[in-house]
C-alpha cells in the first residue's frame, strides 16, 4: 500500500504525541446558528468510534468538519496529525460514506463504475484508470461480498447491496479511516446486522479506524469501542457501557425535543407500551 509521507509519519510513529483524531473546543456556526458547541475529544488509531445523538444534533456536521468540508468557527481539528488544510491532499486515506446518495435509479453506471469512483483521488486529475485500479475495485467488490455484481447497474441493487457497494467505494483507495454517516439507515434488521458484521471484519483485517455516525444507540453499543454522544454540544464520551449507563444519555436525547418544539414536553410513556 503506497503511503505519502505525512500519513506515513503519523502511522510510523513519528508523531507519537498525536491522536488519530483530535478536536479541541470546536464551535461551528451555520447561518448564524450554533450547530456544534465546544466539542472536545480524541480518538486513537484502530478504534471504532460511534457518534450518537438525536436527529438534527449536528452529527453529520461533525463528520463534515473531520473531512475538512466545513471550517469550524473556532477550535482546533487535527486528523492523522494534519490540519483540515493539510488533509486536503491526503483525502485518499479517508473512505467516506454519506447518509444518502440521491441518484436516479436509471443512472447508467455499473457497480464496478461506482467503486472505481472511489479511486478517482488515487488516480489523480487528468489521468485514466489503469488495470491496477480495476483490479483494486474488483477486490473491494469481492471484500464486501458483491462478487458477481460488478456489471450490474447500481440502480438495480437492493438497498443493502447498494450500501455494500458504497462501502466498497470507500475502501477502494489507500483507506486508513472510514467515516460513515448513518450507513445502516433504511435497512431492515438482518441487513443491518450483516452490514455491521462485515464492517467489523474489514476493520480487523485492514487495521482500519472507523467513525460511525448513527442515531441508533443499540447497534453502535455492540460494535463501537467508544461512543460520543452529541446534541449540539458534547454530552458524553467513553466506553459504550459507561455511556449507556449514564443518565446523561437520556438528557442528550431529550434536548432534541426541547430544541425542536421550543418548550419541554413529556418524553416517556407511562403505560409501558
Amino acid at each position: 500500500m503506497k503511503k505519502t509521507c505525512k500519513v506515513a509519519d503519523y502511522f510510523e510513529g513519528k508523531k507519537k504525541d498525536t491522536s488519530l483524531i483530535e478536536l479541541e473546543h470546536v464551535f461551528v456556526k451555520r447561518n448564524g446558528t450554533l450547530v456544534l458547541e465546544d466539542i472536545t475529544f480524541s480518538l486513537e488509531a484502530g478504534m471504532f468510534l460511534g457518534i450518537i445523538g438525536p436527529n438534527g444534533a449536528g452529527k453529520t456536521t461533525l463528520l463534515r468538519v473531520l473531512l475538512g468540508l466545513l471550517e469550524p468557527t473556532s477550535g482546533k481539528v487535527k486528523v492523522m496529525g494534519m490540519t483540515p488544510k493539510e488533509l486536503k491532499s491526503e483525502l485518499h486515506h479517508i473512505g467516506y460514506m454519506p447518509q444518502q446518495v440521491l441518484f436516479d435509479a436509471s443512472f447508467p453506471v455499473s457497480v464496478l463504475d461506482v467503486v472505481l469512483m472511489g479511486r478517482a483521488c488515487c488516480i489523480g486529475l487528468l489521468n485514466f484508470a489503469t488495470k491496477e485500479d480495476r483490479q483494486a475495485a474488483l477486490e473491494s467488490i469481492r471484500l464486501v461480498g458483491l462478487a458477481g455484481y460488478e456489471n450490474r447497474p447500481i440502480g438495480e441493487l437492493s438497498g443493502g447491496e447498494q450500501k455494500r457497494a458504497f462501502l466498497a467505494r470507500a475502501l477502494c483507495r489507500e483507506t486508513r479511516i472510514l467515516l460513515l454517516d448513518e450507513p445502516t439507515s433504511g435497512l431492515d434488521i438482518p441487513a443491518q446486522e450483516s452490514f455491521m458484521e462485515l464492517l467489523a471484519k474489514l476493520k480487523e483485517e485492514f487495521s482500519l479506524s472507523v467513525v460511525f455516525v448513527s442515531h441508533d444507540v443499540n447497534i453502535l453499543a455492540r460494535y463501537a469501542d467508544e461512543l460520543v454522544c452529541v446534541n449540539r454540544t458534547m454530552h458524553l464520551h467513553g466506553k459504550p457501557s459507561e455511556v449507556l449507563s449514564s443518565g446523561r444519555l437520556k438528557e442528550a436525547y431529550r434536548c432534541e425535543f426541547d430544541f425542536l418544539v421550543g418548550h419541554p414536553i413529556p418524553h416517556e410513556r407511562k403505560d409501558g407500551a
Binding site: V101, D113, C121
Partner: protein, 271 residues
C-alpha cells in the same frame, strides 16, 4: 447536394457540433440540466442583440453573454435561496427582454433575426466551421480529460467533494462548455431549437443502453445521423435546418423509446 459550398460548410460544421454536443448531452441528462440548456439558449437572443447593437460579432457577443448567464444561474442556485429552475426562469426572460429592447433601440429589424431564431444553413461560413472546430475540440478535451471526475460529481456530489474532486470548477466549467456549444450551434439549429441537441441524443441512448459507454456511443450516433439526414431534408424541401434536424432526432428517440429493452411500448405489451 454536396456540390454546393454552403451545404459542405453546413455538413462539416453540423457534424463537428453534433459530436461535441452529444457528449455534453450525457452530462446534461445525468445532471438534469435540460432546462439550464433551454435557459441559456434563449438568453442567447439577448447576447445576439448586444452584438448587433454594439456592432460586434453577434455570436461572439452571445458566447460571452451566455457564459456569464450560465455562471449566474450556477451561482444563484448554489449560493442563493432559489432553486435552479427559478434562477433559470429569471435569467432567461430578463435576457430575452433585454434582447427585444436592444433590437428596437438599435433599430436592427433589418438584420435577419429569423435566421438566429430558427437556424439557417446558408448563414454558415468556413470561418464559422473553423470556430466550431476549435470550440468543439476544447469542449471534448475537457469532457474526456475530466470524465471520471465529472461522472463522480454527477453521481454523488457530496462524496466527490469529500474525495477532493474540484466540484466547483467542474460545475462551472460544464455550464460554460454548455453555453459556448449552444451559442456556436445557433447558426445551425437556431436559438429556439438548439437545446434539442443537448437533450435528445443522450435521452435516446438511455432508452437502449444501461451503461454510460453505450449511452454516449448511441448519443453520438443519434446526433451525427440526425444532423446529416436533417440537413439533407432541409436542403431537399427548403425547410429550416434546425427544425429538420430536431425532427429527425425526435424520430430516432421515438423509435428507441418504443423498442427500448428497458421500458416502452413493446415491453408494456409483452409483460
Amino acid at each position: 447536394m454536396l456540390s454546393y459550398g454552403f451545404m459542405q460548410r453546413a455538413l462539416a460544421g453540423g457534424l463537428i457540433i453534433a459530436a461535441a454536443c452529444s457528449i455534453v448531452s450525457f452530462f446534461v441528462m445525468v445532471r438534469r440540466l435540460a432546462f439550464v440548456g433551454m435557459g441559456i439558449s434563449h438568453a442567447a437572443f439577448g447576447g445576439v442583440s448586444i452584438g448587433i447593437a454594439a456592432g460586434i460579432n453577434p455570436i461572439l457577443a452571445a458566447a460571452l453573454f451566455c457564459s456569464l448567464v450560465s455562471l449566474g444561474i450556477g451561482y444563484v442556485s448554489r449560493k442563493g435561496r432559489l432553486h435552479e429552475d427559478t434562477a433559470i426562469g429569471i435569467f432567461f426572460v430578463a435576457a430575452m427582454a433585454m434582447g427585444i429592447v436592444l433590437v428596437r433601440v438599435a433599430n436592427a429589424y433589418n438584420i435577419d433575426l429569423m435566421s438566429y431564431l430558427f437556424g439557417s444553413i446558408l448563414a454558415m461560413t468556413w470561418w464559422d466551421v473553423l470556430t466550431l472546430g476549435i470550440i468543439a475540440l476544447f469542449s471534448v478535451a475537457f469532457l474526456i480529460l475530466f470524465f471520471k471526475e465529472l461522472l463522480f460529481f454527477a453521481f454523488d456530489e457530496e462524496t466527490a467533494q469529500a474525495s477532493g474532486m474540484p466540484v466547483r470548477f467542474l460545475n462551472y466549467t460544464l455550464l460554460v462548455t454548455m453555453a459556448v456549444l449552444i451559442v456556436v450551434s445557433i447558426k445551425l439549429l437556431g436559438i429556439i431549437l438548439v437545446s434539442g441537441l443537448l437533450v435528445i441524443p443522450a435521452a435516446t441512448g438511455m432508452q437502449v443502453f444501461r451503461n454510460y459507454r453505450g449511452v454516449i456511443a448511441m448519443s453520438i450516433a443519434t446526433s451525427l445521423v440526425s444532423v446529416a439526414l436533417g440537413l439533407y431534408i432541409s436542403w431537399k424541401f427548403d425547410l429550416a435546418s434546425g427544425a429538420a434536424i430536431v425532427l429527425v432526432m425526435f424520430g430516432i428517440f421515438a423509435i428507441s423509446f418504443i423498442f427500448s429493452p428497458r421500458r416502452g411500448y413493446l415491453r408494456g405489451r409483452t409483460s
